[in-house]
Amino acid sequence: MSSATLLQFLFSGLTNGALYAFVALGFAITYSSSGVVNFSQGQSVMVGGIVAASLNTDFSVPVLPAMLLGVAAAAIVGLITGRFLILPLLRIGEFNLILVTLGVGVVCEAAAILIWGTDPWALPSLLSLSPLRISGASLSVDSLTIIGMTIMTLVAFEAFMRFTRWGRAMRATSIDRTVASSLGINVRLTIMLSFIISAAFGGLAGALLTPLVATGAQVGLMMTMKGFTAAVLGGISSPVGAVAGGFLLGLIEAFAGAFVSSTYQNSIGLAVLIVLLMVRPEGLFTFALRKA
């Protein structure tokens, strides 16, 4: 296998990895604030991508505003989920909460199929530039954008968590909800904020990915599983770990597709999850990147 081909697999792994990283980051954010693993996390990718694509196709909205509206739509779904389903139900127990988020995923998918059908929706490239050529392999500008945005989002999010009032409130809430509440932090608002942010991240990933891979109404559940795998790889309560886990999963899948079997690429990613949960459920990097 030539080095150009290898490089090509590397790029494709990083691109998918960026997508997984966004979803995993969403898992990490909502999990730290509310302790809920949100089964509908992947639906925000679908909403962001499909809203952007349909606005562009049906209403001729230019690509950039369409993408932003896609992110906004995903954020609204996150707001509704957090405000009307998670917050009132935080006390019904973990088991029932998982069922509720599973139901939210079912409802999102069913509604999306009613509105947009089951066919995938495509979106033109954000910047119509020719792909970069790097020693024989090509890297599209869209791939570069989503990879770059992942890093920038992570940095911005970490800065937000460290240096702003709201970020500090979210960190305090993730450590201990009761104590945070007694310190005057509005815990409910913080949890809601975390659902909005995490859904917006998913929506951003969906909007950025749609120029590369058309988005269909039924991708949400698979995104949830991949994002969760990435989050578990990196340790579910750490944003940095989640992003690292996302890229790692993308690379594992790309090279498994190259060297083992391209038809089982998805299955290998899922097998990673099963094996990982059995061997090291607390994540691979948790010992290195444990939160202060």
């Binding site: 693993v37 089964f39 389903l85 009132p88 139900l89 935080l90 006390r91 019904i92 127990g93 973990e94 088991f95 029932n96 998982i98 069922l99 509720v100 599973l102 139901g103 939210v104 079912v106 409802v107 998918e109 069913a110 509604a111 199929i113 009613l114 009761t178 559940l221 698979m222 599983m225 969760f228 795998t229 578990v232 038809t263 089982y264 998805n266 299955s267 899922l270 097998a271 999850l273 099963i274 949960l277 059995m278 459920p281």
Partner: protein, 330 residues
Amino acid sequence: MADMSSQPRKWLAPALCGLIVVLAPLLGGGYPNFINMAILVGIYYSVCIGLSLIFGIGGQLSLAQAAFYGIGGYTSALLSVKLGVPVLIAMLAAGIVSGIAAWILATPILRLRTVYLAMATLAFGEIFVTIVRENRELTGGSTGIVNLPAPAIGSFVFDTPFRYYFLVWALALAATWIARNIIRSRIGLGLRALADSELGASSCGVDVARYKSWMFTIGAVFAGIGGALYVHYLSFISPDSFSVQFSILMIMILAIGGRDSLLGAFLGAVIVTILPFILSGYEAYGPLIFGIFFIASVRFMPSGIAGVLRNLMELGKPIDGAATQKVTEP
């Protein structure tokens, strides 16, 4: 459960169930779709009571039921089509193969809790569908296998819906009897205990790992036979029937009907089957309505419709357990 000991009721309930099964086609036979719907209800119900043991009573969120349903379906289809095994024996083998698959999977996977178990079983279901889809020579890939034979006893072939109905419901009643005995046995009590707290249950002498493995396996046997019944009824098998969406559907059926009782599994199966007919003309909205109904059930009636009925009729205390988990957050 005190009323169980009183003698007259011991045979009353099974006799009543049998009578209803025999009389139902006569009463509802006038409605053209009745038999077909009753067959589907019977199959969904059998698969659901298998799942209710581990999910409803044991409080373990397993989303692998579609895979076991599919393993059963494919085992029976392949044995009967490729090897010419009599269908009823192939169906039995379907249950056994599903059970073995579950038994092998149980030991490592059931150590996982809550959402981790859910995701791992979901991943297993997804991998199963991919394997079926990609092994085209064996399974026919996405197009599947057509012209599956109908089951037969000697020269009596279950080739009409009316005959198939009795086969399905005979097995469904047998499954009911088995599940009922498990739920009311020491194992059932242990399961309910471990749903509340595995640590607490194990300290009281419940062999948590073994109980969970057994329930997972028995549930898979029910699902495997249900899958076999389904594909021979349609005379067709394809991977679409066994996607992870089916696992989620089974969970929703149980949550809506009532996850901690056999009546709940029945009511849920009835609702999911008749919903498209109620919505005639608006079937497309079915999944959305069912999803909303599911969320509302989890929120407002953790014991489902069966729980509401039970409370209404005051037939005694609801079987408290996994369904109505205790408040843990302050």
